[in-house]
């Protein structure tokens, strides 16, 4: 087995016990990058001297493992562009909290990964620096916007990765690339030093090869940050401590399998199968049907979330991008690509005096109902499961001329995102013909990261969809 194919957990163990050296590890990872980065376009910037930074890291918890970071995290020493030409060549004078924590824990950032420009998209096809291809099948998209980070893991071009999710941007590319991706509760991981997309839902999180890898990474990035007023001061637990507790006695609700776009699809069937797995492991599993109004033990039609999210996110985007005026940093607004312009225009419109009540305020009211709905459901259920995406990775080119591509692809994730919940994608099906994956989304109430990690780990151990788990247990 090649060293770049090791999980984060195994890599740390082997480095610490000196079974492998940093130079062996980095040459395996770099070789892989050299071999496939040109064709897959995963990294937009690479640190060629990363291995030199592993010195004296063996005593630190992350032991010098190479980590890939989405290009919207500000990093000193590596350019940060959010894959937009406006920020081409921009070098931040300061470091994001998440990358600082990674580095302080002994992780080494080997490169910055491609993304939809400004995180506007779910394909990584709208990057100003060209699309990333899905390593599982290069004729297909990796998903997005953290498509580069998910692809880096799928292609074994990094040992661990960091992404950010606003509504689906970690879980959906994780699903399409057949990896594990976790969206923590809004406010669990600091947004300081992350180029803002939609401030009220942006949530940085880990992307890894296994559930335990994500739990380890989350341990090092979660927590209160004095530079982000929306981070919670709730204590951070050791997320690896709960993994093997199992799901016995858990109440599990299956959502969204009755949606017209999902019903009867492989995605629906895979999730129903996952329900059976949880049942076998000792959980109680219910089917939760959708409703158009707030009703006990029913989940609101996900179509509402599309409208709410589209309005709120565009509004925040139009405000957050106002600082890129070309006066102090970066280049002028004429370097903004079509999608960013579209979002700025729509957001500006929905906040304008004559329409703010009709769109922005109303969207926020419906958002409150969605939060209420989840609150009620989590009174009954420990976790909710659903398809991460309604289908397999789409073909390259399918996002073009489809401004709502992302919103449709992420429709099953948007409700939980605007409610600030936590969720994790684990692979739950592989199509042997195309080598493409489907993903299972496991959601829990705010601050219940332990629960989804516990359930995801139990599922991962009980099934054979995760190749890394299978390989390492050999």
């Amino acid at each position: 087995m090649k060293l770049n194919e090791l999980t984060l957990t195994k890599t740390i163990k082997m480095l610490k016990s000196k079974q492998i050296s940093h130079s062996e590890l980095y040459s395996a990872v770099t070789q892989k990058i050299d071999k496939v980065n040109n064709s897959l376009n995963v990294y937009v910037a690479l640190d060629n001297e990363a291995v030199l930074k592993t010195k004296n890291t063996l005593d630190l918890p992350l032991a010098g493992v190479p980590i890939a970071v989405k290009d919207n995290f500000l990093t000193v020493g590596l350019p940060t562009t959010a894959s937009s030409k406006v920020l081409s060549g921009f070098h931040s004078p300061y470091e994001s909290t998440v990358t600082k924590k990674i580095r302080d824990s002994g992780g080494v950032i080997i490169g910055k990964t491609n993304m939809d420009a400004w995180a506007h998209g779910s394909s990584t096809e709208s990057s100003d620096f060209g699309p990333t291809k899905n390593p599982r099948n290069p004729e297909h998209l990796p998903g997005g916007s953290s498509g580069g980070s998910a692809a880096a893991i799928a292609a074994n071009m990094a040992i661990g990765a960091i992404g950010s999710e606003t509504a689906g941007s970690i879980r959906q590319p994780a699903s399409w690339c057949g990896v594990v991706g976790m969206k923590p509760t809004y406010g669990r991981v600091s947004r300081a030093g992350v180029i803002a997309m939609a401030s009220s839902t942006d949530s940085p999180g880990p992307i890894g090869k296994t559930v335990i890898d994500c739990a380890v990474l989350l341990n090092h990035i979660a927590g209160k940050d004095c530079y982000d007023a929306t981070t919670s001061s709730l204590a951070v637990s050791d997320y690896t401590a709960y993994l093997s507790k199992g799901v016995k006695g858990m109440k599990v609700g299956i959502c969204y399998v009755d949606h017209p776009k999902v019903k009867g699809t492989p995605a629906a069937l895979a999730v129903l199968d996952a329900g059976k797995v949880f049942e076998r492991l000792g959980a109680t599993v219910d089917l939760i049907s959708a409703s158009d109004t707030l009703m006990a033990n029913r989940i609101l039609n996900p179509n509402y979330a599309i409208g709410v999210y589209t309005v709120v996110q565009r509004a925040e985007v139009s405000s957050n991008l106002a600082r890129y005026d070309g006066i102090r940093i970066g280049r002028g607004r004429d370097f903004l690509a079509t999608e960013a312009k579209r979002r700025i225009i729509l957001g500006t419109f929905t906040l304008s005096q004559s329409f703010v009540e009709k769109y922005y305020v109303r969207a926020q009211k419906v958002r409150s109902l969605i939060i209420q709905n989840f609150h009620n459901l989590f009174g009954t259920y420990d976790i909710l499961i659903a398809p991460t995406s309604a289908g397999y990775a789409q073909r390259l080119g399918s996002s073009a001329d489809n401004p709502l591509f992302g919103e449709i692809e992420d429709m099953l994730l948007e409700a939980s995102s605007i409610a600030g919940l936590t969720g994790i994608n684990v692979p739950c099906m592989r199509d042997p013909k195309t080598n493409l994956f489907l993903g299972l989304d496991i959601m829990a109430d705010q601050w219940q990261e332990e629960k989804i990690l516990q359930a995801a780990y139990a599922y991962e151990q009980a099934t054979e969809w995760n190749e890394w788990v299978a390989n390492e247990s050999e």
Binding site: Y94, R191, D325, I329, V356
Partner: protein, 446 residues
């Protein structure tokens, strides 16, 4: 149909911006000291510079001080409040929006008493100041430079109802507000430096109307009470002239031109600008418990009127002395510092004497140490005559001026002043108040 000039009356509302003198800025840890910074942009960070990824973290002290100001003005303090984004483009506004408060200010309502009637406060809210543009010619090229030292300095905005109807009333209101801010020690409120900025909104109606005119003219960023009064006078005349022609003044923003002694048009406003306000998602809403607000209320220091009553009672000052002392905070501190010194008490020097020294003889209130002033007063005590010596001189003067004595008896108060003057000719270094009191006492016995 012409209306007699006498019936026109200005309708004035004021917007006042006050920079708080917190140690750090409103949303970051940068030093809040824009006026004494040695270099441009030396007190900046990713937040106040509007860099990607910079997030605002509100300054607790600034919020508390805003609430204290509201309490001093008798405002209702909100139990729920939030910050909002106000969007507009200007190069000194780094983020493309200002963090301010739109529909849920910390404080609403309240009033300040003036001798012309109460002026109601509409709201008191907290926001951030902008950077500063500097227009220069460098190597024969006209350039605009931006200094962000001021960017993110906490700024309180006080908005009044249009209850002011004369330049005199505006001035009185502003003096009182200035005094309150200084008593709370939340701002230097230095008009010249710009840590207190004044914007009157002026329109003119026929006296007795109850409908606010449909237009208003805003005069921006005036840096003295005198100029506010002058701008109001100028605008009043200008509006009346336009109204006399049967027209309505244009709604616009004007500036005060010191050189021309006139307002000049800056920007015509068709309607309200569209600032696209929405709640600042980077700052969670704020909730204040009753206990928290009451604890803050206990921190509210005594304000001028209360302090005046206190010092008059405690030190036997007259109303005039009390009024003068509380008007000027450094003067008051010097008085209070001096009057409570043990050496002063031992020397048996009265509060009245100290008040007179502070009011009449000291020029640098902040630069004079109470102990130095006390020593001066004690050192000069030799010229303080004994009661018997004073009495002898007074009796002599009374004898020599029988007409003044009978005038006084007939009710002509001023005669006492004349007699005091005559006594002072012989005892030039003795405190006038001391003489006056003694003269009055002697007159009673004549």
């Amino acid at each position: 149909m012409k209306v007699n000039n006498m019936q026109y009356e200005p309708v004035i509302g004021l917007e006042i911006h006050v920079e708080l003198k917190t140690k750090s800025k409103m949303f970051c840890g940068c030093k809040n000291d824009p006026f004494y910074a040695e270099k441009p942009n030396m007190y900046t960070c990713p937040v106040c510079f509007g860099l990607p990824g910079g997030l605002p973290v509100p300054n607790k002290k600034a919020i508390e001080w805003t609430i204290l100001l509201g309490m001093a003005l008798g405002s209702t303090i909100a139990s729920f409040s939030k910050f909002d984004r106000k969007h507009y483009f200007y190069p000194d506004l780094a983020k493309g929006y200002q963090i301010t408060q739109f529909d849920e200010p910390f404080c609403s309502g309240g009033f300040i008493k003036t001798s012309f009637g109460n002026v109601r406060i509409r709201r008191v809210h907290l926001e951030e100041d902008t950077g500063k543009l500097i227009h220069k010619t460098i190597v024969e090229k006209k350039v605009t430079l931006i200094d962000f030292n001021r960017s993110g300095v906490p700024l309180v905005e006080i908005v009044t109802e249009p209850d002011i109807h004369s330049s005199e009333q505006a001035k009185e209101f502003l003096k009182k507000l200035h005094q309150i801010v200084r008593y709370l020690e939340i701002s230097d409120a230095d008009l010249e430096k710009g840590s207190m900025r004044l914007e009157p909104n002026i329109s003119v109606w026929i006296k007795g109307s109850n409908e606010i005119p449909a237009y208003k003219v805003e005069v921006k960023n005036i840096n003295s009470f005198k100029f506010v009064a002058a701008a109001i006078e100028y605008e009043f005349k200008r509006h009346v002239a336009i109204l006399e022609e049967g027209k309505v003044p244009v709604q616009e923003t004007r500036g005060w031109d010191e050189g021309k002694n006139a307002t000049v048009s800056q920007r015509k406003k068709e309607g309200a600008s569209d600032y696209r306000y929405f709640p600042e998602p980077d700052i969670p809403p704020l909730r204040f418990t009753k206990e928290y607000i009451e604890a803050l209320r206990n921190k509210l220091p005594k304000l001028a009127d209360e302090v005046k009553d206190d010092i008059i009672k405690a030190y036997g000052l007259n109303d005039y002395q009390g009024t003068i002392l509380v008007e000027n905070v450094p003067m008051l501190s010097l008085f209070q510092g001096t009057v409570s010194l043990p050496s002063i008490q031992q020397a048996n020097i009265s509060g009245t004497t100290i008040a007179n020294w502070v009011i009449n003889k000291v020029t640098d209130f902040s630069g004079t140490a109470p102990i130095d002033l006390a020593n001066q007063i004690i050192g000069s005590k030799t010229v303080v005559v004994s009661d018997s010596e004073l009495k002898a001189v007074i009796l002599n003067v009374l004898e020599e001026n029988p007409k003044a004595v009978s005038d006084y008896k007939a009710g002509k108060e001023q005669s006492a002043m004349f007699l005091m003057g005559m006594v002072r000719r012989q005892l030039p270094n003795v405190d006038t108040n001391v003489i006056l009191e003694a003269v009055k006492a002697a007159l009673k016995n004549v």
